[in-house]
């Protein structure tokens, strides 16, 4: 009782001051405010934006924890210290404390930087502009660590997060007003500003960059290399991973994007809770499969042979595209961002389909950067309002037609 009263009097004290949004943001984390409904419905549904965002975070937690294990696992496998998994998702080689602790201590700083810097910027803007701190960053801050390579230097992350939050969101007026997905804006910034840290075969396994530097300085240790499957395919190298490895996520890649199984479960959770749009998820998957299948047909028709640089990815079986790279993660957690996606139900079908379709297209035709889902989503973010416009115009035209029939 005491705490509640004390916080209440503090809230009254800060009311109307510059610090009110900052205080309220912290206060509302502990207590749902005592505000009552006025001049509209006198009762309100149980959900608020915090609960909504919290649901998405819950769906992301398994990916984060898996990412921690996988970081350690990839490191020790590449270093030759442990054997690769052999016995399914619950393989004892994977779920070890050793794997986890390496990943945990590597990823925790990334998580802290992401949240610390991002929320810092949010608070700053809320205080300056006098609006409440919006919850959007709770999800963005969780997404960012999951879509960067494990060896990303923290200072780069700081720069990117500041850029992403300010340019991607705050200049438009905060959560709900932004055009581009902030998490992807951050990743796109990293990718174009520091390409060597976001692609290639050195950044995906913990310690690979460090080892390369040691070798260059005369060390005799073996090089650690961990190329992503997409990287291998883009260069038409063979892939050593089985389909099950890809599905379970025992592969190198961005921290949280590898386990298609857990992403699938997260997606089902989002659909079940009605927070994520099943329309976008389903249509994206269909779009990706269609494009993948078309490429398979092109290969089967013999128009592309194994001398072509597109051969590796084009000949990948169409449904494998969903298991490799960030495809699944992007579809489930990024494409469904309600603010930047299409807002009409019909529009969501078109929007999702094009994301899947274009992702695979970029993947295949851009060997320099084989992951297309980030660019596809950003591109469709820009086009989402246009799609909505035409969908809404359909409704408007129906209304005009009705009026004409009456007067005719």
């Amino acid at each position: 009782m005491g705490l509640k009263q004390n916080l209440h009097s503090l809230r009254e004290k800060y009311k109307g001051t510059k610090m009110a949004p900052a205080f309220n943001a912290l206060h509302t984390f502990l207590y749902t405010p005592n505000d009552t409904a006025h001049g509209g419905t006198h009762i309100k549904a149980a959900d608020d934006l915090k609960r909504t965002m919290n649901t998405v975070i819950m769906a992301l937690i398994p990916c984060l924890i898996f990412g921690m294990f996988n970081a350690g696992y990839q490191h020790y496998v590449a270093a030759g210290e442990i054997e690769a998994v052999t016995s399914g998702f619950f393989s004892s080689e994977f779920w070890t404390l050793q794997n986890f602790s390496l990943g945990f201590w590597k990823i925790l700083p990334i998580l802290l930087v992401s949240y610390g810097v991002g929320l810092g910027v949010e608070f700053l803007f809320a205080v300056i502009k006098g609006h409440e701190v919006e919850e959007g960053y709770l999800v963005t801050g969780m997404l960012v660590p999951l879509i960067v390579p494990i060896d990303i230097p923290l200072w780069m992350l700081v720069v990117a997060v500041v850029f992403g939050v300010v340019i991607g969101k705050e200049v438009f007026g905060g959560t709900g007003m932004n055009i581009l997905n902030p998490a992807l804006t951050i990743r796109a910034f990293l990718f174009f500003a520091y390409p060597t840290w976001m692609s290639g075969d050195k950044v995906w396994v913990e310690g690979a960059v460090e080892r390369t530097r040691e070798i260059a300085n005369g060390s005799t240790a073996d090089a650690i290399s961990g190329e992503t499957i997409l990287g291998s395919l883009a260069q038409s190298h063979g892939v050593d991973y089985s389909v099950m490895d890809m599905f379970f996520g025992f592969i190198p890649g961005s921290i949280g994007e590898t386990s298609t199984l857990l992403i699938l479960l997260g997606g089902l959770f989002l659909i079940f809770t009605k927070i994520g749009s099943w329309r976008i998820m389903l249509s994206s998957v269909i779009g990706a499969l269609v494009m993948g299948y078309i490429f398979n047909l092109v290969v089967a028709a013999g128009w592309i042979t194994d001398t072509s640089k597109f051969y590796g990815l084009m000949s990948t079986e169409f449904w494998h595209h969903l298991l490799i790279g960030g495809m699944a993660f992007g579809i489930v957690y990024m494409a469904t961002d309600p603010v930047t996606a299409s807002q009409t139900n019909k529009g969501k079908w078109i929007y999702g389909f094009l994301i899947g379709f274009i992702s695979i297209m970029i993947r295949v035709f851009n060997p320099a950067y084989p992951e297309g889902v980030m660019l596809a989503i950003l591109l469709m973010n820009v086009f989402a309002p246009t799609i909505d416009h035409y969908v809404v115009q359909g409704n408007v035209k129906r209304r005009l037609k009705r009026a004409k029939l009456k007067t005719a």
Partner: protein, 449 residues
């Protein structure tokens, strides 16, 4: 022409405290109050000055834009106070009732009369106030000709007064009113009913539609949208079913009898039940006997919990309501309200909210916002509870940025604030949808007229 209307999109909010089907005579109120704000957009010209004596059915004020449109006193008595607000706006006209009621005799009306006569009679007798129009959801303009008239005979809102019960035995009055209204339009009088037992089911000169499905299946806006949506340049009229009784009695007897059976409902009421009372009467005549605690922390609403008006315990029943809802105030903090599992509140998501498990459970909801106001973020959840062929979020945004062309194109002529009550209820951003729509309609009324 009759059409069965079955909607799927919507949400039934089941609340504790539904009125038991017994009727008591309310204690006769000493004071009555008529508030011009109930008649949105009407500018009153006062006739009855302070201190004047009026009979029941005598003019209190008329519409400044149309002198023939009278607004009358529900009771006979003395005008004790005309409360004024800023710029001498009339806030309320307070009447102290006589012990013995006397009525103005408007004369028995010949139901075979033509449209002009019917209209003039309704305008002069004060019954015009019960006729509202769309677009704009205001008292109907007397010089407009509606393409049709719509009446909802099925109340689907939470705790709503059961019209089959409150209108029982009033068939003669209902019939008289419907007959008169049917003269005023060529498109017919459309009535929605929930079951064939409705007193409205077998009326002559009307087209009845069976409606079913979750709330807002009983909203008149849903009926209009499914039968004959309002196009640009068209007008439709709506009348509340319970007001047909007053209109009907006036036509049959010449007496403006403001009596109405209303429900007193809500979880704060000890024994929720029905009362026979008059419009404009003090709610304190009903709420305390077997009702609410005197020092309780409750919200009193004249109307239903979704679109009613807040009133104080010493306030008055408004002109159009047939229910007083009383629910607990929610002005308390809730520890970790945003992330803990919720079993005792209603939600249309499943984000650790479990009302989907118990669709028939009755809830005791309070007035807490359950969160803070935010920008529009989520999409697609309004559409789940909004059965009209309109894009709700897009039209709300058009109202917010005041783009008249877009508001018109998206269907603003078809809607009333109450159509957006459910979208407001489920809104995770806690946006005041009904207020936004009302402001949008007012803007259009001012700019386009």
């Amino acid at each position: 022409m009759s059409k069965d209307i079955k909607i799927k999109k919507g949400l039934d909010i089941r609340l504790v405290g539904e009125a038991e089907q017994t009727t008591e005579n309310a204690i006769i109120s000493n004071f009555y109050s008529i508030k011009p704000e109930d008649f949105h957009s009407i500018i009153p010209k006062l006739v009855a000055k302070e201190g004047a004596r009026v009979k029941a059915g005598e003019t209190l004020f008329y519409n400044k834009d149309n002198e023939t449109m009278k607004f009358v006193s529900p009771v006979s008595g003395e005008i004790t106070e005309v409360q004024r607000g800023p710029r001498r706006r009339i806030d309320a006209i307070k009447i102290t009732a006589d012990k013995e009621q006397t009525y103005v005799d408007h004369g028995k009306f010949d139901l075979a009369s033509d449209a002009e006569k019917t209209k003039a009679h309704l305008l002069a007798s004060g019954c015009w106030a019960f006729i509202k129009q769309r677009p704009y959801d205001v008292v109907a303009k007397a010089d407009s000709t509606p393409k049709a008239i719509f009446i909802s005979g099925y109340a689907s809102a939470p705790l709503a007064a059961n019209l089959d019960f409150t209108l029982a035995g009033k068939e003669a009055e209902l019939q008289a009113a419907v007959t008169a209204l049917s003269k005023l339009t060529e498109g017919g009088v459309h009535i929605s009913i929930g079951s064939s037992k409705s007193p409205l089911a077998n009326l002559q000169n009307a087209i009845t539609h069976n409606v079913s499905g979750p709330h807002p299946s009983g909203n008149v806006g849903t009926l209009i949208n499914k039968v004959s949506p309002v196009n640009k340049g068209e007008t439709v009229w709506t009348v509340n079913a319970q007001d047909l009784v007053i209109i009907g009695e006036l036509l049959l007897t010449g007496k403006f009898n403001a009596e109405r059976i209303i429900a007193l409902a809500g979880s704060s009421v000890k024994k929720p039940r029905y009362f026979r009372t008059k419009l404009g009467s003090e709610i304190s005549t009903m709420i305390y006997d077997n009702g609410v605690e005197r020092d309780g922390n409750d919200r009193f609403i004249s109307g239903n919990v979704l679109s009613g008006k807040r009133v104080q315990p010493d306030g008055y029943l408004d002109y159009y309501s047939n229910i007083i809802s009383v629910i607990p105030e929610g002005n308390d903090y809730e520890l970790f309200g945003w992330n803990k599992p919720v079993f005792d509140k209603v939600s249309n998501t499943r984000a650790l909210t479990f009302s989907w498990l118990t669709p028939n459970k009755k809830y005791d909801l309070n007035t807490n916002m359950n969160g803070e106001h935010r920008n529009f973020v989520l999409t697609g959840n309004y559409e789940q509870v909004f059965p009209l062929d309109i894009y709700p979020m897009q039209i709300l945004k058009a109202c917010l940025y005041k783009d008249l062309d877009e508001m018109e194109a998206l269907g603003m002529y078809e809607v009333a604030p109450e159509d957006f009550a459910l979208t407001e209820f489920v809104c995770v951003s806690k946006q005041p949808h009904q207020q936004i729509i009302r402001a949008g309609l007012d803007l259009m009324l001012e700019e386009i007229g």
